[in-house]
């Protein structure tokens, strides 16, 4: 039963990826300025990899915790990788940019980390393998004070916990 469930999940993942990636290619053609789409970061400057082809982070629009098409794509790769490496647990860190009040940003970071966590759960990863922590605006990766720097800092990062 476990086998058939995970098989069904995998099937669902593949099916959804096909649909979503079809949409995604359409969208990227309307891509605006180099490394940002709207105010969501789309570059790879700060991105690290959990494994070959598995980016560790996704980016958010200002004050938002909605996952973009690209973010969902990244998280599906993470889910696949987590499924293949069932002994690994992760912490999803939620972050905000410096242009918000500290306390609200702590809550916003938590909301972003949970958006990523929920998506991983939807793709079959057990909730007890994923913990979340919010750093609010306390741990930026880019210390500049400009829209591009801020876009790199509005992120959730999946980090190996063991």
């Amino acid at each position: 039963m476990n086998f058939s469930k995970s098989f069904r999940n995998t099937f669902l993942v593949i099916l959804l990826s096909l649909i979503v990636s079809a949409c995604a290619t359409k969208k990227t053609t309307t891509k605006v300025e180099g490394q940002m789409q709207g105010d969501v970061y789309t570059g790879t400057d700060t991105v690290k990899y959990l494994a070959d082809g598995v980016p560790d982070r996704v980016f958010f629009a200002t004050n938002e915790s909605i996952l973009t098409t690209k973010s969902r794509d990244t998280l599906r790769k993470q889910a696949n990788w987590l499924r293949e490496n069932s002994s690994i647990n992760v912490v999803v860190e939620g972050h905000a940019d410096e242009r918000g009040t500290r306390e609200y940003n702590l809550a916003l970071g938590e909301r972003r980390a949970n958006a990523a966590k929920d998506y991983l759960i939807t793709y079959g990863i057990s909730a007890d393998r994923i913990s979340v922590i919010s750093y609010g605006k306390e741990r930026p990766v880019d210390s500049g004070s400009n829209p591009l720097s801020w876009s790199k800092n509005r992120r959730s990062v999946t980090v190996k916990a063991n």
Partner: protein, 448 residues
């Protein structure tokens, strides 16, 4: 008549002249014409000077105390302490009976005189406040304390003078707890720090091993509540700054943050985040009972009680964006009060009860402002690139907050400093700190 102050301060109230004075200061308006006041150095005799050097390594503790008073009065923006070089009368003689004509000649309207003695490891200070125009004494007080408390004596004198001349309690014998910051933005080291309101006597309460944020004083005791990332578990802690003992507040299965004491000091109110949703909770410090106050899928945070403990103001994005709300302290009757353009955060109820201070973000600028508790009468006091988190002086007349500067693309040029501003919007000043600083919280008056 003997009045006993806590913290080992004995105050002999030997005379307060009740007669109607000619001098008084209206602090409800921006004061562009501060009151000229002469602060005569407190007189110290020779034998006491010797003791002063032995006990405190200070040549003349009398003039040091008068400098503390002078700085406080000047910083308030309501007084203009006159240059000592213009003083015609010697401190000891002036303290007995000032020649009012001499002081009127240098345009002083009020005069502070005094005398200090250090004997048998006791510091005794007496001071008098004189009304120059009316030619009479307005107040006289004496204190006895341990010599190391000499700065506090200066703060208490400042508070008494402020109260006598403005009709409102002062805020000088107070402390600020804040977060000391060092290092690059991407790896900032933060420590809890505490200092006197005028920036002296800084002490660090944590070592910087874990991230700490948003310390707040208990208005009734020497307790502090703050957020610590100890063991990478962000939780609200309670710290006794006298004993150094600390404990986690409550047993929550997730991040607790944005703590603040109720005005009676009996509860901590804070946010608890779970599954992407932050709601407001309280914990009673006596019986440890936890109560949920809000239950809404939006972010509810930055709660602050009204001084009568009956209402709570807080920050929520339930309308789609950060706005300020007020509710009864049981969580009922939630009403949005901020309707201006932009986002609103960090509401803090004034200790006088009449106003709520806040941070506002509009078109890329940050403002510190105040509004009435129904949201009317919004006034923005200061605009800057980044500033937030106002905290009230105990008399509700001054706000302290932190301000950050913009960094260039390499991250250079960044700083975080404490600033204060009067409720009138005048008298904006940087508050000196040893390191970069943020998240200030103002204590209650330490004496009385």
């Amino acid at each position: 008549m003997i009045k006993i102050f806590n913290l080992s301060f004995l105050v002999f109230l030997f005379l307060i002249t009740k007669a109607n004075s000619l001098i008084e200061i209206d602090i409800t308006r921006g004061n562009l014409d501060p009151l000229p006041i002469a602060v005569s150095p407190l007189f110290q005799n020779d034998s006491s000077k010797k003791n002063s050097i032995n006990e405190l390594k200070l040549e003349n503790v009398g003039s040091e105390i008068s400098t503390v008073v002078e700085n406080n009065l000047k910083t308030s923006g309501l007084f203009n302490p006159l240059s000592k070089e213009a003083f015609l009368q010697k401190p000891d003689i002036a303290h007995l009976k000032p020649r009012f004509e001499d002081w009127a000649l240098i345009k002083a309207q009020a005069l502070i005189t005094g005398k200090v003695t250090i004997e048998n490891k006791k510091l005794k200070v007496e001071f008098r406040l004189w009304d120059i125009l009316a030619g009479r004494e307005m107040m006289a007080l004496a204190f006895t304390t341990v010599p190391s408390n000499w700065r506090r004596v200066g703060h208490i004198i400042s508070d008494k003078v402020y109260e006598r001349l403005t009709g409102e309690k002062g805020y000088f014998d107070t402390r600020i707890i804040y977060v000391s910051e060092e290092g690059p933005k991407t790896a900032r080291v933060k420590k809890l720090a505490i200092m006197d309101q005028d920036g002296f006597n800084t002490k660090y309460l944590t070592l910087g091993n874990e991230l700490v944020l948003t310390p707040r004083f208990n208005p009734t005791s020497q307790m502090v509540t703050y957020l610590s990332y100890f063991k990478n578990l962000p939780r609200v802690y309670l710290l006794d700054i006298e004993t150094g003992t600390q404990e986690v507040v409550g047993d929550f299965p997730g991040m607790t943050f944005a703590p603040r004491f109720s005005p009676d000091g009996k509860k901590i109110i804070m946010s608890f985040a779970k599954d992407g949703n932050s709601d407001i909770y309280t914990m009673d410090l006596e019986n440890r009972i936890v109560e949920r106050i809000t239950n809404h899928p939006s972010i509810d945070t930055s709660p602050s009680y009204s001084p009568d403990n009956k209402y709570i103001t807080f920050n929520s994005d339930r309308s789609g964006y950060q706005q300020i709300y007020v509710m009864k302290s049981d969580g009922s009757n939630v009403k949005r009060i901020s309707f201006g353009k932009g986002l609103y955060g960090t509401p803090v109820w004034s200790p006088r009860g009449d106003l709520i201070a806040f941070t506002k973000l509009h078109k890329g600028k940050f403002y510190i402002g105040v509004m009435r508790t129904d949201g009317s009468g919004e006034r923005l006091l200061t605009e800057n690139y980044y500033q937030e988190a106002p905290s009230w002086s105990p008399n509700g007349r001054v706000l302290i907050f932190y301000r950050e500067t913009k960094s260039n693309d390499k991250g250079e040029g960044f700083s975080a400093k404490l600033w204060s501003i009067d409720l009138t919007g005048y008298n904006e000043r940087q508050v000196q700190t040893e390191t970069d600083a943020s998240d200030p919280s103002w204590s209650s008056l330490l004496s009385n």
